[in-house]
């Protein structure tokens, strides 16, 4: 499905994003937030600064900064092993919750969820 995420959904590369895409992303983020067990979602820009978040400011900044560095490191590791490879997703499972990071070219989407027991 990653492929048809690539073929149909990732749509190759659209030149100009339009409002319907933005609405789609907003919708998706709202749905993710409404899912069972999701504690918060953060959208981080290319410099590690959270631009949209459902958590409080200090927590967001902390998560954003730390996960940004970690994602850079992870991406570097993946590409070092095989430069044709790419980091698509990063999940960190801890005792209390799971942190999921979806990196984009310049952005990061972070979701923190309490996985179902």
């Amino acid at each position: 499905m990653k492929e048809y995420c690539a073929a149909t959904r990732t749509h190759g590369g659209r030149s100009t994003p339009d409002l319907s895409d933005m609405a789609e992303v907003e919708d998706t983020l709202k749905r993710i937030q409404a899912q069972h067990g999701v504690i918060g979602t953060i959208v981080v820009n290319g410099e590690g600064i959270p631009i949209r978040t459902t958590l409080d400011n200090s927590t967001s900044v902390q998560y954003a900064g730390l996960l940004h560095q970690l994602t850079m490191k992870a991406r570097s590791a993946v590409r070092d092993i095989d430069p044709q490879n790419e980091l698509t997703f990063l999940r960190i499972r801890s005792k209390k919750h799971e942190i999921m990071v979806a990196p984009d070219k310049e952005y990061l989407l972070i979701a923190i969820q309490n996985p179902s027991e």
Binding site: P17, D21, E24, V38, A111
Partner: protein, 574 residues
């Protein structure tokens, strides 16, 4: 006599008069020879005197006499002095160092790779540009360069969020995976071990449930798996009862996200049938309750179909009950067939801008209809299926309970089978054996036919109207049927020829089940009910068994084996 204490200073000059007058020196300043007049020569006083000169003669005379010369000098001082150059200082100084800037970078394998890729792209794009006129290319580049900068500045805020759609989707899948973790584990790994103790019987394990909140009242009318992406399936929602809502929806779900459909299309009339093209799995043909057929392109944006038969002249006047994609025609245009309540089988071709329809065949009238009303009262065709190996052969099931076998080469039906007493709800060819097909009808029966005989080879009575039946893609003898009382019946003819291996109620008693489909790859079926709910179920191992081979032989799989299995059964029943 001179006084010896007297000092006489005699100056002798050596002078070459003749020479000095003609002494020329090259002047670098004027680039020519110039007479040197005033140059001071070296003058050295000498003590030699020419013997013919006055003084010389006097000296010779004195010498002869032998007297001491008056001109005896006691000491001679000669001195010369050269010109002294003034001292000059010559020093060298380099330019001062430029400002030191700290530069650091990493040289990873991927950075090197990326750089090479960029270079490659630049070179290929520059060769392409060379083909164009240079001026235009440069001008355009300049404009684009500026524009892109401008865009960077202004669009930082909102629009870049739109490019996050992939990342957002992945995140949603991951979140759902966490929530449905146990379902996914069941799907992947759970094999019911109790099957060993159940004899031949099997069970169905419910997995995901798909319900879109806004369509609680529309029944599921069609299901179709996507052959290319095995987790994606289409759900058509629409009602064929006049009393209910006159609208429909086409949804696409993947089990990675059972909360929200991947694609959603609203139609102005109930969706009665859906088919996804086998190779071009972004093309979806839909038949509607009001007689229209549409083709959607999943890769195109927007809610509208790319083709709609509303404007075509050959469109159906009754509900379209089944659409099926066919092979491309001679020119490579995609074609699909539709069968409808107006008694016609029509083939539609996707032209450049619109659909072209061709009447293939008209269904023969029912027996009860008097001859003069043949053209008025039509026989509704309810279901259509193409032969797997011979794509020009097809079967049509009608509301009169008959199955007609037709071919696209002929205008009349080749054969007719009296299949059911009431409406035929589904007809399907066996995926392996080319002679076998299955039908089910509202008369509670499921019949399996050999196309050469006139009566069914197998008949099963399921105690309730059978709404849909499907062959399993992994075995030629396994099929499943859904009935109006909410049960799913799974049969395996090679194991038990008379009864079902599994008869399980999947939904509550008040609800009907309307459709069933097997996943092409995984041992999963999806069933739809009349309230818009789609449930996926996993087949337990007993339902997927291959019959026991003789001891010592390896279990064999493959199409030939499947065909042979079915053949054995047919021979048995004759």
């Amino acid at each position: 006599m001179s006084n010896l204490s007297e000092k006489t200073v005699v100056l002798r000059r050596a002078r070459l008069n003749a020479a000095t007058s003609s002494l020329m020196r090259f002047s670098f300043k004027e680039c020519c020879f110039k007479p040197v007049a005033d140059e001071p020569d070296i003058e050295i006083e000498g003590s030699l005197v020419h013997k013919d000169s006055e003084e010389g003669q006097i000296l010779c005379a004195e010498k002869e006499v032998g007297r001491k010369s008056k001109t005896l000098f006691s000491c001679i001082t000669t001195a010369t002095q050269t010109t002294i150059n003034p001292p000059r200082e010559v020093a060298c100084q380099t330019e001062s160092q430029p400002l030191l800037v700290n530069y650091s970078a990493t040289a990873n394998q991927w950075e090197i790779y990326d750089f090479y890729q960029e270079e490659l792209q630049k070179r290929t794009s520059s060769t392409k540009k060379d083909e164009k006129e240079n001026e235009i290319a440069e001008g355009a580049e300049g404009v684009h360069g500026n524009l892109s900068l401008l865009r960077d500045f202004t669009d930082k805020s909102d629009h870049d969020l739109a490019m996050l759609s992939t990342a957002a989707k992945l995140l949603e899948y991951a979140v759902n995976e966490n929530i449905n973790g146990d379902i996914i584990a069941d799907f992947k790994h759970f094999e019911d071990e109790a099957d060993e103790f159940r004899g031949d019987k099997g069970t169905l394990l419910p997995l995901w449930e798909f319900q879109y909140n806004k369509v609680k009242s529309l029944p599921v009318s069609a299901l179709c798996w996507n052959k290319k992406y095995n987790d994606l399936f289409a759900v058509g929602l629409g009602s064929h009862k006049f009393t209910e809502l006159e609208c429909g929806m086409l949804l696409f779900y993947t089990w990675r996200n059972n909360n929200h459909p991947e694609f959603l299309f609203n139609t102005d009339s109930g969706v009665m049938c859906v088919d996804i093209h086998e190779q071009k799995s972004h093309l979806v043909a839909v038949g509607l309750f009001n007689g229209n057929v549409c083709v959607y392109n999943l890769m195109a944006k927007g809610d509208q179909p790319i083709y709609n038969s509303m404007a075509s002249s050959g469109k159906h006047s009754g509900t379209v009950w089944q659409v099926k994609w066919w092979e491309d025609d001679l020119y490579g245009n995609h074609t699909f067939f539709s069968v409808s309540a107006d008694g016609r089988v029509v083939s539609w071709t996707l032209g450049k801008y619109e659909l072209f329809s061709t009447n293939i065949i008209k269904l023969p009238p029912m027996d009860k209809v008097p001859d003069d009303l043949n053209n008025v009262i039509v026989t509704a065709g309810l279901t259509l299926d193409f032969h797997k190996q011979k794509p020009y052969h097809f079967l049509v099931g009608t509301e009169a309970g008959k199955i007609h076998k037709g071919s696209t080469h002929y205008t009349r039906f080749i054969k007719t089978y009296e299949a059911h007493f009431r409406m035929v709800s589904c007809v399907r060819w066996n995926p392996f054996n080319p002679k076998v097909f299955i039908t089910c009808g509202m008369d509670w029966r499921v019949n399996i036919w050999d196309e050469t005989t006139d009566s069914p080879v197998f008949t099963f009575d399921l105690k309730s109207s059978v709404m849909d039946v499907a062959w399993a893609p992994y075995s030629s003898t396994v099929f499943a049927a859904v009935t109006a009382d909410g049960k799913v019946h799974v049969f395996d003819l090679s194991i038990n020829r008379f009864e079902a291996l599994c008869q399980q109620r999947v939904v509550s008693t008040k609800r009907h089940l309307t459709c069933i489909e097997f996943n092409p790859v995984h041992p999963i079926i999806i069933v739809g009910n009349d309230r818009g709910l789609v449930i996926s179920l996993k087949l337990s191992p007993n339902l997927r068994k291959n019959p026991k081979e003789e001891k010592g032989k390896e279990p064999s799989t493959g199409a030939e084996v499947e065909i042979a299995k079915m053949e054995k059964l047919l021979i048995l029943m004759r």
